[in-house]
Each structure stands twice: as structure tokens, then as C-alpha cells.
């Protein structure tokens, strides 16, 4: 205790420098926690998916559609219990900047197969009854202020849906009951989109309910087998793989965000280490005096290391706190609805604080060692 107050007084010696060091650690931890939150969103989307849902897409890519005649063929495959389908609409809400996912779905079967889309029975009925109705996730509703009864006009983003704007009426606001569904998307009737499509009956992907998750691979192979050597070959995958392929449309996000976070942390480490080294150099005489008074080198070591740790963890707490405050307050809009947008979890915040502690320890190590190894007489002579 008595030593802690000594460390605190020491840290206050140069308030600006201490504040700036803490701040740089705070920024690093803030970035780290926020980026982790985005990554968690992606990864949880894949991990949290149902193992009895499998997804069929065109073998070439998600962008290219398949004819609705596939429906009957897939239904006939052994092990397939239920089936629904969806298209990526890609409409523009007022401004291309306002990016969120819109899915044209076969509403009744889709809601049946995704019980995670939580909707009150009244809202569900209202949606099913309205050909131009839509439902939006509560996160999306919060971002744009959508309310039940509102009209949403979307410009066509992909030319196969013609050129005329689409007008929807919000019939319900759903909550996401699982990570396979996110609350940043808008769902509406596939039929409405198909009516205006230049080529009718195009389907982006099929979602299938299978009876036995153990047989997922076999069933997927059976389905793809049915379409080999047709103009519309398919690729069937588990929902997890599908989520992953969605995410990979952005390149290797994990690696990218991971490297950014890493670079920030390493940079901060250097900044903190340099600052600590500077502050120790300035204190050479003081350290020599304390040693003369009988403070053992080990105690000096812990003073300096402790000071680094203290400043760094202070920054870490600020950064993690701000990340939770800002990111969780707003809910990340950045994932645009591909994956559930999570806030900064407590775990991430704690890891962030842990990293700040790591920065503090590593940054303090060299200066603390130098201080502990200092030869008293040389240090005293230097100023005298």
C-alpha cells in the first residue's frame, strides 16, 4: 500500500505525458475491442447456425440465380423435410451510403424455417397478408427510425428488377432470436420482387430443412448430383459454410481486421515503452538516491514496472469503457446485415484491458531493468 501511493505520485510527475500515454493505450484498446466485436459478429453468425438447415446456391456464385423449377427437384431428394428460398435484393434506401441487407423471401416458408425471426402473431399475419409488406429487424428500425405502418421506398440496385422504385409498408419489427438471423435486415415477399423481374422465377438460394444433421453432407451431395451437367449446377453447403462464404465476399476480414488491431497494439507498445524509458532516464538521479537510501533493486524494478502497468491499465479501462459505451450504444451498423451485429462483449472488453496490462508490463520491462541495474555512483556522478 505504502509503495502504491509512491507509484501514484510518480505517475503524476508529468501529468501530460502520463495522460498521453494512457490515451494512446486507450485508443488501441478501443480499436481492438470494436474490431473484435465486428469479427465476433461474423464468426458467431457462422458458429450459431443451425445444423439441420442446409443451403443450396448456384455453383458459380451467389450472385447468379437458379430457376424456380429447382424447387420440385430438391423437394424430392431424400432427407429434405422443408424448403424455402430467398434473393438478395440489393436496393438503395435514399442514398447508397445507407447500406443494409434486403432479402426477398418466400415469406411463409421462410418464417417457418427461421423460428429465430421473432415476430408477434399479429405482425406476422399482417406481413403475410400484404403483398408489398416488409418486416425489419429492431436494430435496423432503430438506425433509421422505421415504425410499423411506415413506407419504405427502395431504388432498384440490381437491374434485373427493372428500373421502377419499390414501395414497401412496414408490417412488423422482428427481434433476432439466434445468431443465424440478424436484426439489421429487411425481409419482404419474393413474389413482389419476382413480378417486376425481367426474368421471372429466379431464385438466389434455397434453404432446406433436413431431418438428420449427420447426413447433411450426403444430402447435399445428392442435391448437387441432380443438377450436374445442367446449365444451373448447384453447390449445397451447411449454413455455417454459407455464412462463411458470405463473409469471404469481403476478402479475409478476419485477417484484415486482426492485422489492424495487431498493428495498433504493437505501435502503442512502442510509444509506451519509449515514454517509460524517457521518464526513467529523467529520473536517474532519483533512482540512485532511492538506492542509496537502501531501496533494493527489485523494489525499484517493481516501482518502474508498476508505474507502466498502472498507466497502461488506466488507458485500457478508458478504452474498453468507451468502446462499450459508444459501440454498444449505437449498435454496429457496419456489418450491414450479413451477420448479426454484436456489441462489444464483456469478454472483449476484458481482453482489451488484459492487452493494456500486457502493453504496460512489456513497455515497463526494459526501463525497469535499466533502473534496477543502474550503478549508483555512476548515476550520482552524472549530474554532480
Amino acid at each position: 500500500m505504502k509503495f502504491l501511493s509512491l507509484i501514484l505520485k510518480s505517475a503524476r510527475r508529468s501529468k501530460r505525458r502520463t495522460a498521453l500515454t494512457a490515451l494512446s493505450v486507450a485508443v488501441a484498446v478501443f480499436l481492438f475491442s470494436s474490431l473484435r466485436a465486428v469479427l465476433d459478429g461474423f464468426n458467431a453468425g457462422a458458429a450459431g447456425s443451425s445444423s439441420t438447415r442446409i443451403i443450396t446456391i448456384r455453383s458459380t456464385s451467389l450472385i447468379f440465380a437458379m430457376p424456380s423449377s429447382h424447387t420440385n427437384v430438391i423437394r424430392g431428394v431424400d432427407g429434405v423435410q422443408d424448403l424455402s428460398w430467398a434473393n438478395w435484393f440489393g436496393g438503395i434506401y435514399k442514398d447508397p451510403q445507407n447500406f443494409f441487407a434486403q432479402f426477398a423471401v418466400d415469406a411463409e416458408s421462410y418464417l417457418r424455417m427461421y423460428p429465430e425471426v421473432l415476430l408477434s402473431p399479429d405482425e406476422k399475419q399482417a406481413f403475410l397478408d400484404d403483398r408489398t409488406g416488409a418486416i425489419v429487424g429492431d436494430g435496423l428500425a432503430r438506425t433509421y427510425g422505421f415504425k410499423v405502418g411506415d413506407r419504405i421506398v427502395l431504388q432498384v440496385g440490381i437491374p434485373i428488377y427493372g428500373s421502377q422504385d419499390f414501395t414497401f409498408t412496414v408490417r412488423g419489427i422482428y427481434k433476432a432470436g439466434g445468431t443465424a438471423v440478424d436484426n439489421q435486415s429487411m425481409l419482404f415477399h419474393w413474389k413482389y420482387a419476382d413480378e417486376r423481374a425481367i426474368e421471372k422465377g429466379q431464385i438466389g438460394w434455397f434453404v432446406l430443412q433436413i431431418n438428420d444433421p449427420e447426413r447433411a453432407a450426403a444430402i447435399a451431395a445428392d442435391i448437387d448430383q441432380k443438377f450436374t451437367n445442367t446449365p444451373y449446377e448447384t453447390k449445397t453447403n451447411t449454413e455455417q459454410q454459407f455464412m462463411a462464404s458470405f463473409a469471404s465476399m469481403f476478402g479475409n476480414l478476419n485477417l484484415l481486421l486482426g492485422s489492424i488491431a495487431f498493428a495498433v497494439v504493437v505501435t502503442t507498445l512502442f510509444v509506451a515503452a519509449n515514454t517509460m524509458a524517457m521518464s526513467v532516464r529523467e529520473r536517474t538521479t532519483e533512482i540512485a538516491v532511492m538506492r542509496t537510501l537502501g531501496f533494493p533493486s527489485q523494489v525499484i524494478f517493481f516501482f518502474i514496472a508498476g508505474e507502466g502497468l498502472l498507466i497502461s491499465v488506466l488507458g485500457g479501462l478508458i478504452g474498453a469503457g468507451l468502446a462499450m459505451l459508444i459501440v454498444n450504444g449505437e449498435r454496429l451498423g457496419v456489418t450491414g446485415g450479413f451477420v448479426p451485429a454484436f456489441g462489444v462483449s464483456t469478454t472483449n472488453a476484458l481482453i482489451g484491458v488484459g492487452i493494456s496490462a500486457g502493453i504496460g508490463v512489456v513497455a515497463g520491462l526494459v526501463p525497469a531493468t535499466l533502473a534496477a541495474r543502474l550503478k549508483i555512483v555512476d548515476a550520482l556522478r552524472r549530474v554532480a
Binding site: 505504502k2 505520485k9 538521479t285 538516491v289 542509496t292 537510501l293 537502501g294 533494493p296 554532480a384
Partner: protein, 223 residues
């Protein structure tokens, strides 16, 4: 005999050349003495004092203080020995700028098992001896040089050490403040029976001591 220095040699290596600083010094100091060490610049006074303080090690020879041999102790053992036995007074006071006078004096006590209350009593006693109880809350920059040196003396005596060592304690002070410091040291010697070794250039300062030794080129010479 409180201090027995036998045949102590100290050489520094400058590149490859060995520079002898102390050359077979032998010195005996009885308890209760106030010894002034004089000599020209570079004669090895500070080096000798540092050896006595246990912050430097001799190249050869034996240093026995209060019955224990300190030449050859490990760094860790020396630190503990210093905390118990030595009070050091520097020319430039060397107070810790972020600590108040009180906290500076308390610093060496943090290494003891004393309670906060006991530490407080010790600190106030030491500050009273140097006549600065009213400045206990001041930071070093709020004190005059003479006052700073008195706080430094309080810090040196607060643990009631065996030995007080002072390296030109008045070297950076005006005449009046210097006199005050010397009077204080004299009092510590006479009233509190402290053994003091003081390095000084000033013959008037040396007059205050009970004994004077002259060092020249690393050996004692007659005055």
C-alpha cells in the same frame, strides 16, 4: 572502533588503462567522531565516502563498519545494510521533487516495519531536530536551498543510522545557510552522538569537525 578501513584500493578502468583513485588507504574512526575529509579535487574523497556508504565496492582491501565487513557483500545485502546503517547527505540535496518534505523524510522508513503512526512520529521528530516542522507539507521547489538541505539531513537521520556521511553538504549553499547546516551537524554529533564523516573543500567547515584528514592522490597526507 566504529570504522576500520584497511589497505583499501580503488581503481577505475578507463578503456584499458587502470586509473588508481585510492591507493592502499587505511583509516580508523571511533564512534562519536565528527571527521572532516579534505583534499584537492580528484583526490578521491567522494570515492572514499561512497565506499563507506556501501554504494561502491573497493578493488582491494577491507572495510569493517560496526563490526561487519561490507567489502564483498552482495548488492542485495548492501542495500539492506545501507538502510540500517547509513544516512547520506548529498551536495545537491537530492530530494524527490514529487514528494513533500514530510514524504521525503518518510521515504527510508518505508523499508521498515513501522506502522504509519510510528513513521509519522519519527518523521516529525527528525523535522523538529532540523527545525522544519512548519514546512512538512512543502514540496522541495517551495523550499530554499538551506531548507532543502535540512530536509535532506532529516531524511538521513530519520532511521537513526550508525553513520552519517555528507559529501560537501554546504558546497551549494550561501555562507549563512552553510553555517546553519554545519551548526546542525555539530549538534547532531554533540547532542545525539552521531558519528559523522563530511567531505569538504572549505577549511572553515573543517574547523567544525573534531578531526580532519587530508587526502591527496589517493592517500592520506599530513596537513
Amino acid at each position: 572502533m566504529l570504522i576500520e578501513l584497511r589497505d583499501v584500493t580503488k581503481t577505475y578502468k578507463r578503456d584499458t588503462i587502470e586509473v588508481p583513485v585510492l591507493d592502499g588507504v587505511t583509516m580508523m574512526v571511533e564512534e562519536g567522531q565528527f571527521l572532516a575529509l579534505m583534499g584537492p579535487s580528484g583526490s578521491g574523497k567522494s570515492t572514499l565516502l561512497n565506499l563507506l556508504a556501501g554504494i561502491d565496492q573497493p578493488t582491494r582491501g577491507s572495510i569493517k563498519i560496526a563490526g561487519s565487513e561490507i567489502a564483498g557483500l552482495s548488492e542485495r545485502q548492501l542495500a539492506g545494510w545501507r538502510a540500517r546503517n547509513v544516512g547520506f547527505i548529498f551536495q545537491l540535496y537530492n530530494l524527490i521533487p514529487v514528494l513533500t518534505a514530510f514524504e521525503n523524510v518518510e521515504l527510508p522508513l518505508l523499508l521498515t516495519d513501522l506502522t504509519k503512526k510510528q513513521r509519522r512520529e519519527h518523521v516529525m521528530t527528525a523535522l523538529e531536530i532540523v527545525g522544519l516542522t512548519d514546512r512538512s507539507g512543502h514540496y522541495p521547489r517551495q523550499l530554499s536551498g538551506g531548507q532543502e538541505q535540512r530536509v535532506a539531513i532529516a531524511r538521513a537521520i530519520v532511521t537513526d543510522p550508525t553513520l552519517l556521511l555528507a559529501d560537501e553538504p554546504t558546497g551549494d549553499l550561501d555562507a549563512k545557510s552553510g553555517q546553519d547546516i554545519l551548526t546542525l551537524l555539530q549538534r547532531l554529533n554533540a547532542e545525539f552522538k552521531k558519528t559523522i564523516i563530511m567531505v569538504t573543500h572549505d577549511p572553515h567547515a573543517a574547523e567544525r569537525a573534531t578531526r580532519v584528514l587530508h587526502l591527496e592522490k589517493g592517500t592520506f597526507v599530513a596537513a
